[in-house]
């Protein structure tokens, strides 16, 4: 065991490389995944090691190549296919939710579709309304695909390993803000100790990222970092926040949410996705269903409002969940009820 540190982006690429070394049926395909190494570096270095037959640049034909990943998976391969930004899902969602996610069911369990669909999510750097969404609520709403969202390098590697080895379709969402890319706003939490050997982080288990006693903050992705930062501010105010990193929306680890709320009696959900009809409502409902009698105040949601993500920085920064908003909502929650 070393103390080697990696960025999240390099941790993802390493997990893929390790699986590709061990399993000839694993291959990578997508726009700019080969020569460029992935716009967000998730496939960096793979072309050099594995060559153009296993690391394949595609045309801009998401329906075509994601559908092809399905066919290849049915045919015995384990494709990792990249949808460059989750925002582009609208040109190819049929293949994802109606085909990839349902074939196993339609076949009564006879056909497996072990595709890993990687995609970049999230805003905060003024990439405007068609390049800043998270949309995890949308993917998690539709049955048949697992949905994982790492927030740090360790989980990123372990979840990728687990995703590749899983016989089910797994949507693997990486938030641009947690990758540790050189051209994004620096984020110390995007670098961390990552074991060199392969390991799995089990899909469907939330992580208590910080223990606390006064309220539970449930979140995912970059907002985990915001929540951890907010927890430090809150600590100074004498408020002890427990931070839960869901890591996986499907399956959702409802037990961990409920247990934490039963302990803290208060729930704040932080969700970078749109406010309504998404993750925040599901987490609130989960807590209500499992811990109604324990709650001292109604759960509160800090989310992106139901607006397209605006471009201009003051608008965007105001709209997305921030440390300030979490601190404020937590403080209010503590005096409510």
């Amino acid at each position: 065991m070393t103390d080697r540190k990696l960025t999240t982006q390099k941790a993802i690429a390493e997990a893929i490389a390790l699986e590709m070394r061990g399993d000839d049926s694993v291959f990578v395909m997508g726009e700019d995944v080969a020569t460029y190494g992935g716009i967000f570096g998730a496939t960096e270095g793979l072309l050099d090691e594995f060559g153009a037959k296993r690391v394949i640049d595609t045309p801009i034909s998401e329906t075509g190549f994601i559908g092809a990943a399905i066919g290849a998976a049915i045919g015995g391969m384990r494709p990792i296919v990249e949808l460059m930004f989750v925002d582009f899902f609208g040109v190819c969602m049929d293949q994802i939710y109606n085909n990839m996610a349902k074939i196993h069911y339609f076949s009564g369990g006879n056909v497996s579709v072990p595709v890993v669909l990687t995609t970049a999510v999230g805003g905060g750097y003024s990439d405007a309304g068609q390049h800043s969404q998270t949309l995890w609520g949308t993917f998690a709403h539709m049955p048949g695909m697992k949905v994982v969202i790492p927030s740090n390098p360790y989980d990123a590697k372990g979840l990728m390993t687990a995703a590749i080895r899983d016989d089910n379709p797994v949507v693997y969402m990486f938030h641009k803000g947690v990758l540790g890319l050189g051209w994004m706003t620096p984020n110390p939490r995007a670098t961390g100790v990552v074991p060199e050997e392969p390991y799995e982080v089990p899909i469907g288990e939330a992580n208590v990222a910080r223990e606390g006693t006064d309220l539970t903050v449930v979140t995912v992705g970059l907002s985990v970092h915001r929540a951890l930062d907010a927890a430090e501010v809150l600590q100074e105010k004498g408020i002890s926040a427990e931070v839960i990193d869901l890591r996986s929306l499907v399956p959702l680890d409802r037990e961990t949410i409920v247990a934490s709320v039963q302990k803290t009696h208060r729930l704040l959900v932080v969700d970078e996705d749109y406010h309504s009809y998404g993750m925040s409502g599901e987490v609130v409902s989960t807590a209500i269903e499992g811990a109604f009698d324990y709650l001292d105040a109604p759960p509160v949601r800090v989310t992106t409002p139901d607006i397209p993500i605006p471009y201009s920085r003051p608008l965007e920064q105001w709209a997305l969940p921030s440390v300030d908003r979490i601190v404020e909502a937590s403080s209010n929650l503590l005096v409510a009820g």
């Binding site: 291959f27 045309p59 559908g67 066919g71 290849a72 391969m77 109606n98 349902k102 069911y105 009564g108």
Partner: protein, 334 residues
């Protein structure tokens, strides 16, 4: 072309089997829904798209297939599935929603999936074409000479996935044959109201691949063209686009009043029924005599009846099994 007798007989047999299957499904489907048609009622509820008239497209490829080839078909899948040799009993059981069905009753007639032979279909127009491209990628990776076949209607040829799939297959020189079943209608919309050019086979040029038109709804014509296209793909020479002008004898789905097609159009179709034309030809050419034909009919009818009986004898799935098969168990663990 000199076609081996057994191929001709095989194609004819399969045509009879397909037609019989479609007729029986139709009877049973309508039986308990009329006179007051209720789509949710009866032994076979839901939509039902039958392929009577399109048998030539299905059987023409049949003699050229080999083990391991993969097929994707459409919402109108029975003829193709039967021609590829999908287990008829399990297929019937799926259509009847039984536990013994291909999908344990979860898929129904638009969602028939078979592992061996590798068959899949879909209720979404154009959904299967990209999947066939992926099957071909797997073949190439494994180094087999298998071929993937993607069937789709002329209506589907205006869907974006057609374009993306043909470009991908051509670009990567993959062993795929794309077969357009041109029955001139997409539900009520005639091809003239949907397609800017007369023949989809001409669109192959946009991808630099061969595009071949089979202008007759004739198994032999399909056999010849498909033979070449499949052979080409097997040899690693890349994909082709084949278009077959065919006839959908019945409504788009069962229960369709079919008012959008003229009586004359429908009468013409009946007059050129491909099963009749083919049997006539085989008789004229002395390949089959009346007793051969009777024997084949009997055998095929029996096989179909046996499959349907299997379905009828099979139990319905337990309601709670609806929760199963959403996710596969992991096979690989630490």
């Amino acid at each position: 072309m000199d076609i081996p007798r057994e191929h001709l007989v095989d194609m004819y047999q399969t045509m009879v089997k397909i037609r019989r299957f479609e007729e029986r499904i139709r009877e049973i489907y309508l039986d308990d829904k009329l006179p007051a048609f209720d789509i949710a009622a009866g032994l076979i509820p839901g939509e039902m798209h039958l392929a009577a008239g399109q048998e030539p497209v299905a059987v023409g490829m049949r003699p050229h297939l080999k083990a391991g080839d993969a097929i994707t078909a459409t919402h109108r899948p029975h003829h193709i599935a039967i021609a590829q040799g999908v287990d008829l009993k399990k297929m019937a059981a799926e259509i009847f929603g039984r536990e013994t069905g291909l999908g344990r009753g979860k898929g129904g007639h638009m969602h028939l999936f078979s592992v061996d032979p590798a068959f899949g279909c879909s209720g979404i127009i154009g959904e299967g074409m990209p999947v066939a491209v992926g099957s071909a990628m797997a073949f190439r990776h494994k180094g087999t000479d298998n071929v993937a076949l993607a069937f789709f209607g002329e209506g589907a040829a205006n869907q974006g996935s057609f374009h993306e799939s043909l470009n991908l297959a051509a670009l990567w020189n993959l062993p795929v044959v794309f077969i357009c079943e041109d029955n001139a209608y997409a539900i009520s919309v005639p091809k003239t109201a949907s397609t800017a050019i007369a023949d989809n086979s001409d669109r192959a040029a946009g991808y630099g691949i061969p595009g071949v038109l089979v202008a007759a709804n004739d198994p032999v014509a399909v056999y010849e063209v498909m033979g070449e296209a499949i052979a080409r793909a097997r040899k690693g020479e890349g994909p082709s686009l084949v278009e077959v002008k065919t006839d959908r004898l019945w409504g788009h789905f069962e229960g369709d009043a079919d008012a959008y097609r003229s009586d004359e159009f429908k009468a013409d179709m009946v007059a050129r029924d491909p099963v009749n034309s083919f049997v006539k030809r085989l008789t004229d050419e002395g390949i089959l005599n009346e007793s051969d034909i009777a024997g084949i009919q009997q055998a095929m009818y029996d096989e179909v009846e046996e499959a349907i009986q299997f379905a009828l004898d099979s139990p319905y799935p337990e309601p709670e099994t609806a929760l199963e098969d959403v996710f596969a168990e992991r096979t690989v663990t630490l």
